[in-house]
Symmetry: C2
Subunit: 416 residues, 2 copies
Amino acid sequence: MALIVQKFGGSSVGTLDRIHHVASRIIETKQSGHHVVVVVSAMQGETDRLIRLAQTLTNEPHPREYDVLVSTGEQVSMALLAMALQAKSIPARSFTGHQIGIMTDETHTKARILNVKTETIQKTLNDGFVVIVAGFQGINKHGDITTLGRGGSDTTAVALAAALKADECQIYTDVEGVYTTDPHLLPEASLLPQISFEEMLEMSSLGAKVLQMRSVELASKHNLPIRVLSTFSKHPGTLVTFEDKIMQKRLVSGIAFSREESLIALSAVPNRAGIEGQILGKISDAQIEIDMIAQNASDQDKTDFTFTVQRKDFPKALKIVETLAAELGALSPKTNPKVAKLSLVGIGMRSHAGVASNMFRALGNANINIQMITTSEIKISVVIDEDSLERGVRAVHEAFGLDKLSVETHQDFMET
Amino acid sequence: MALIVQKFGGSSVGTLDRIHHVASRIIETKQSGHHVVVVVSAMQGETDRLIRLAQTLTNEPHPREYDVLVSTGEQVSMALLAMALQAKSIPARSFTGHQIGIMTDETHTKARILNVKTETIQKTLNDGFVVIVAGFQGINKHGDITTLGRGGSDTTAVALAAALKADECQIYTDVEGVYTTDPHLLPEASLLPQISFEEMLEMSSLGAKVLQMRSVELASKHNLPIRVLSTFSKHPGTLVTFEDKIMQKRLVSGIAFSREESLIALSAVPNRAGIEGQILGKISDAQIEIDMIAQNASDQDKTDFTFTVQRKDFPKALKIVETLAAELGALSPKTNPKVAKLSLVGIGMRSHAGVASNMFRALGNANINIQMITTSEIKISVVIDEDSLERGVRAVHEAFGLDKLSVETHQDFMET
């Protein structure tokens, strides 16, 4: 008998029919002899409906009351799911964050979980019930309701699984798992049977919106395997786990990308200590977020400095940089307002040279001009014209054989 | 400085505009220097929406989970109301039944309040906040969410007011107060400035749906005055209080009525001990509720026995009674399937003979045939043809001068 935590997202419980379907999936696991703890999100659209109510009422909803309001969405779906299970003669009990004791800090609307009490869950499991817990919510030390921010139900699931020392945390969603790249862009993208936490973090932060980043960090910290899988199919999905558990080594795991970026390049900036801070400080003072940064010292006195911002912030950022360039005696900035970022992610590249050159060659062969490069331990990112994005992803995807990944057998798949 | 509990029903918080309006009313009371505790219902239609979800999902929603589900309605409105107050720079905090500690028994869907903790409310009031509490909900000793049944927010308000030793409990609704009879039937009905608890109980149970009965009982038990008044006007409404506080004595206070009743009369039933129990037992065994019962011993051996049931139960009740009459050797039952009950209520009638005869004379003058009479300490009820109901109410209303009640000054009205 194992202890499995299963999380179902808003689209999985989006209609009453789907709630019945989710109940059936839970019953399969329960009837395989496992203890099951379920974490649910609000029904699809419900959180948005509640936020709209608040924002129509007042421009700045009070954060404490905002949390009281939006936390009702999960309470509705947990009750409905418990009813659906009971109606199928499976004993089930639902609990709010308050009732379980999911203790958070005091940051309303994006609280962090500090501690999860397990007594109520353990007792209820031992009494033979399926335990259903509202995702996304907790309470602070004053007993006030808090919420964890968008996607917070993933974090609730991982925190519960860690506190309960669960055997696996299954995140059910409306996709089959984690792909080598976005299948909407590239239909030949392959489903990854396994991926490491580090790769997943790089993929998440780059826009593969399958798992909330904080939940991946938390799972990694507690050495807790997460399985991402679809509510609507029987496919075993993707297991997010530690590198050493990944049997079939791959050089690279996937390609993440983001659109809607703009590039600004400053040339011939005086190369003196603190100059980067001076430039970036002005930008971030204006509440503009900088994504990528690269710097090349072209000669001893001058340096070239390139960075990207979200496209909506481009006009404002450019204005600041133009003023700065004049003040510093640099050349007038070069820009490209319509670029995209393409990132190759793979834990295997750490020990293999040649990944970067293979990637750049693939892009070159596709006649795509690289305008900026940054690298980290397990990721190489390039900036290219947004118009070339699809061709670029396809070229790199093919070059690393990501379209030919065979689906491995998942020996430790625990759902049934 | 007084402590006022204000309860706002579902229609009072039915839209975001109305929530702003309610916030303004609360601010008036607060700015008059009073402590204010507010109890809110779910937004109009919300509880029904949630119940529909549950009933569409499953025929018999599990009661524990039903309470988890429907209790979210009040949580939404309490948060929105707190936001509206905060947006008008009035500090406010909302609390669930769980957070306050509204302890109930374990009867899900119609729990009874056992005990209300006051620490959190007192502390929050002393810190200068308006305290907003979800009506209709509590928790049982296991920490499970319970609900109090339809209209339960009134009971929450009264229980809070009693526990806090509030100076007044104001029930805001969409009518101006308690009328001498239903103004929809009789436009000349007068608003009662005051009414006694006993009269109110008789009026409530007879269908004047202004206050939940249990809340009136509770207020009476704790000697707590309740004021019923409209959210949408400045009229001081009706004060429900003890008899000795009602200065201007009236013989009678109002006329309640109910339609959709049917009458069944058994004649020449053997007059022996236990015969009534035998007859009524058969009826109630069939889950039929009996409303009025009257019995006349016509001679030493025989008795006449008349009762009323709701019209929907009439065919079933008649069948049972016909079988019984044959068994008992009674005459075949006489029936009138379309009758109504008209009840004159007044604490003054206790010490005044002549009220009954005056009432019967008024009905006789209107050419209305009385088919059954029952009386209690402060109420006289008659059964008449439903077709005559409006004429009957008007005749009795006029006979006791209820259309000419002057509105008294409310010296102790505390709202502003």
